[in-house]
Amino acid sequence: MTSPLLQVRDLRTYFATDRGEARAVDGISFEVLEGETVALVGESGCGKSVTALSILRLLPEPPGRLLAGSSVQLRGEELTSAAESRLREVRGGEISMIFQEPMTSLNPVFTIGQQVSEAIREHEAMSTGPGERGPAAAKRVAIEWLDRVGIPDPEHRYGYYPHQLSGGMRQRVMIAMALSTRPSLLIADEPTTALDVTVQSQILELLASLQTELGTAVLLITHDLGVVAQVADRVLVMYAGQIVEEASVEALFRAPEHPYTEGLLQAVPDLEERRERLAEIPGNVPRATAWPTGCRFKPRCPYAWSRCRDVPDLLRSGRAEQSAARCWLVDEPERRRSGSGFGPGSPDGRREEVGES
């Protein structure tokens, strides 16, 4: 068995807030293997972006803090205790990151070419060929990369400023910057969420082809289950600061194990067929300062029973290799068959409590 590229163990990132301590990421463990695409999926506030930022130690500390016992290893090298100088090499070098809105990550007063060149020079040893150094070599490589990510007439566009490009083109520039240093891992946080659907599909195809070509592993953070199904090999579903289900993409969409995953898949409208009613997950996402005790999904779960007062572990189901769910149903599957599941919320008794804020 190959050793993992990235190994995250018991990662906990808490924040001090005026409402008390927010346990944004609360003990998650996962691995990313060389070259594979792992999707981290969940709704807003589940901790998926904080996970990404914690890996690269990009969170402001304070108010954030990584708890003792958290471990992030890149090819066996511990990053949580690494020196700042080493982290600077890793960021944009071995691990690159792209974000939802490229406009906020690009500097508006430099041309896109200058910015790609700068990334290349910062990590020169990894980006250019042997014996090639200096601004001229960096510029040549930058133009090659602009071409590679599908920017037409790259010599000319090298001199463009970010505002002269469309959203899709800006995201292509970000991809060029991120991949030009030939990282082993690309963390992509909602990379296509702000884009129109046809542009999204072009960007996803571009990422997939470059990934195959370069052998880069991708940790994709997204709320969009369609995007997950299209690009991921494995999926991690996050809820309330924890991973609640882990499965291959095929197994997850074919037979979701955790009730939260099941509910999410039934709540998404289907392009092929109009449903009579969408299934509803009742209630609201809990707050990181006050996660429910026991199973954190219990208050919204149609199957919950007395055992759910105890915190479930991530239980291996044996359904497929490496699939697991943080749910007692894995132990007692007959309860799922007798349970009600996610009904379509009835038009009447749907009165919900007003959320405390």
């Binding site: 709540a267 289907d270 997950i281 996402v285 749907r350 009165r351 007003v354």
Partner: protein, 335 residues
């Protein structure tokens, strides 16, 4: 002109079922170019449509296609450069002041960002009460009773009236936005991306609520969205816009099962499906090319089009929106 749908809910009512109607709507914006020359941008061009009683018409398209501008024109929030909007057969441009007030009450807007559209310093009850008193719809004890009733309609308890917008979650705020629109007893609700800021689990709650309200109150919706799966769930009829014009319109089932226009086909092809990868996508799909070069003449979609029959003829003249079968409109000479 988009006619009644084949077998649409209100088709049998004839013209009496038409609530809101646009004919030949255009909206141009003028700006100054680099040397002071005036440039005209056509945000909306030649848009005709009808919204029937009790139906949902969806306007879909990508950012900048003119769908939100069309909605603002239909609501009379800005004047069209040319064309007319009629509400129950009356031209907006020739309405008297009282007729216009009535129109503004009957056609209500629900926004994408519920928080941005709620007053942070007013309780929910205060906000709804204000709407009721401005339109002289309820006073005194009656007002409190009506507020409770409105909150109940959108699935909130009476205690919500005492609270401020920041005390609610995103989905609950959208319910409040809907309650405020309902307060004046509208018959058309224009919903501009009403669920696109919400999480999936909350989105389903709001979509179901909109469906319930339509059934209970007989509302018509003009539903503006970029998410084609969401539109599938709510729409009776769909109009697809590209570069300011309607390029295809028909009843929803037909549009999703047999899209005709190459743009509609590539839009549907681009939607990633939340299905196991082993399930193959449908075959009617068409991929498309990269960003379009702007063209002065011919079909606006020419640069991106990957229709096998696309040729120079497409670039010569603007295709007309033609009715291919009853209720089925397409702006393409090759389909």
């Amino acid at each position: 002109m988009i006619d009644e749908p084949v077998g649409g809910r209100a088709a049998s009512e004839g013209n009496g079922g038409v609530l809101l109607e646009a004919e030949g709507l255009a909206r141009h914006y003028a700006s100054r170019g680099p040397w002071g020359a005036e440039r005209i941008t056509a945000a909306v061009e030649d848009v005709s449509l009808r919204i029937l009683r009790g139906e949902t018409l969806a306007l879909v398209g990508e950012s900048g296609c003119g769908k939100s501008t069309t909605a603002r024109l239909l609501m009379g929030l800005e004047p069209p450069t040319s064309g007319t909007v009629r509400y129950r057969g009356r031209d907006l441009g020739s309405m008297s002041r009282t007729e216009l007030l009535e129109f503004r009450r009957r056609v209500q807007l629900v926004f994408q960002d519920p928080f941005g559209s709620l007053n942070p310093r007013m309780t929910v009850g205060g906000m709804l009460g204000e709407v009721l008193s401005v339109h002289a719809l309820a006073a005194g004890e009656e007002r409190g009773r009506r507020i409770t009733e409105l909150l109940g309609l959108v699935g909130l308890g009476p205690e919500a009236a005492e609270r401020y917008p920041h005390e609610f979650s995103g989905g609950q705020r959208q319910r409040i936005g809907i309650a405020r629109a309902l307060a004046v007893e509208p018959d058309v609700i224009v919903a501009d991306e009403p669920v696109s800021a919400l999480d999936v689990s909350i989105q389903a709650q709001v979509l179901n609520l909109l469906a319930d309200l339509q059934e209970r109150l007989g509302l018509s919706y003009l539903f503006i969205a970029h998410d084609l799966a969401v539109v599938r769930q709510v729409a009776d009829r769909v109009a697809v816009m590209y570069a300011g014009r309607i390029v295809e319109a028909s009843d929803a089932d037909t549009l999703y099962h047999q899209p005709l226009h190459p743009y509609t086909r590539s839009l549907l092809a681009a939607v990633p499906r939340p299905r196991p990868p082993s399930e193959k996508p449908r075959a009617t799909e068409l991929r498309e090319g990269a960003d379009p070069p702007k063209r002065a003449t011919g079909c606006a979609y020419f640069g991106r089009c990957r229709h096998p029959a696309r040729d120079e003829e497409c670039s010569l003249a603007l295709p007309l929106l033609e009715e291919r079968s009853p209720g089925r409109w397409v702006r393409c000479i090759k389909t």
